[in-house]
């Protein structure tokens, strides 16, 4: 699997990308799915748009931090 960094991606592009993936963004900046904030299942916190990581499969959205990334890899296998 390849990984695309969204660090320098314009906000509008990211919003459009999210929409194409069936996701959205709430007014207070959280990633949403079907209108509800998406929870990072590993740290049990809502995922902020500015700090999101999205993995394929069942479109897993997590916060981009070492604990969540390590937990994802532990559960799903190596990313790259």
């Amino acid at each position: 699997m390849e990984v695309l960094s969204l660090k320098s991606v314009p906000k509008e592009f990211k919003m459009e990308l999210l929409k194409s993936l069936g996701l959205g963004v709430s007014e207070d900046g959280f990633v949403t799915k079907e209108g509800k904030p998406v929870m990072d299942e590993y740290i049990e916190r809502h995922v902020r748009f500015e700090n999101m990581a999205i993995f394929p499969g069942s479109t897993i959205v997590i916060d981009d931090n070492p604990l969540s990334i390590a937990s994802y890899i532990e559960a799903h296998g190596e990313i790259v």
């Binding site: 916190r45 394929p56 969540s68 990334i69 390590a70």
Partner: protein, 242 residues
Amino acid sequence: MSDPLESASKGFVEGILEWSSEKIPELVRRFRDGELAFVKDRNNIDLVRAQKESAEYKLLSPYVAKGKLSILLQMGLALRQIENDPEKLEDLRQKIYGKFGTTELRIAELVKIGIVTQLLTYLVKIFRNPKDVESRLTSFLNQVDDLALFIKKDDLVEGKANLVMLRVDANPAHMAIIFGTGNAKPVVLKILRRIKGNPRNFLIEIQEEGNQITAFVFSPETRERLAHWAVPLTGEEATSKR
């Protein structure tokens, strides 16, 4: 101008210059096919991968089950890696605490300062059989609040010495670790002298680094096994300064 799809195919990419809506269907297609993931930036994946590829993780990981302890090993090593960045360090500490709690944060911090690796080294020498080592290490980590004692300068020497000996006897690893920093160092040394004076002849290994002292206390029954390996631990009291 660089193309995001072409760049992504080379792995990570930052600073993309060309982002147009026409690119999105192809990105989505590759995502749906399981070929592509999106992250904020590469730092966290790089950090995690570096820990998993480290010699220390490869040494430790065969002795812990996949899951929480394996994650805590990685997080402890990650904490060490980012220790010069106080903001990132505190953020990760808070996330470990928020996810798991105080005990698990303590395990990660013991990994960070190298204690768990030292502990494993001793357990391998004492028990040899990998299954025994794994069960003892796991048992120790699960009881870390009781078996890794941070000594404070006001702690009572006799009470702590008795507590340490009691806990060494009562756990399957047959050992405990005590720490002290700054003003607590002399208290640790007094506690160790007290334990050393016990007729059962506990085995003690002391390590000093800067203003911190760490001591591994082993049950008398481990003496013979450690002696078999002819390591410095066979002395009454071995001291090393790193």
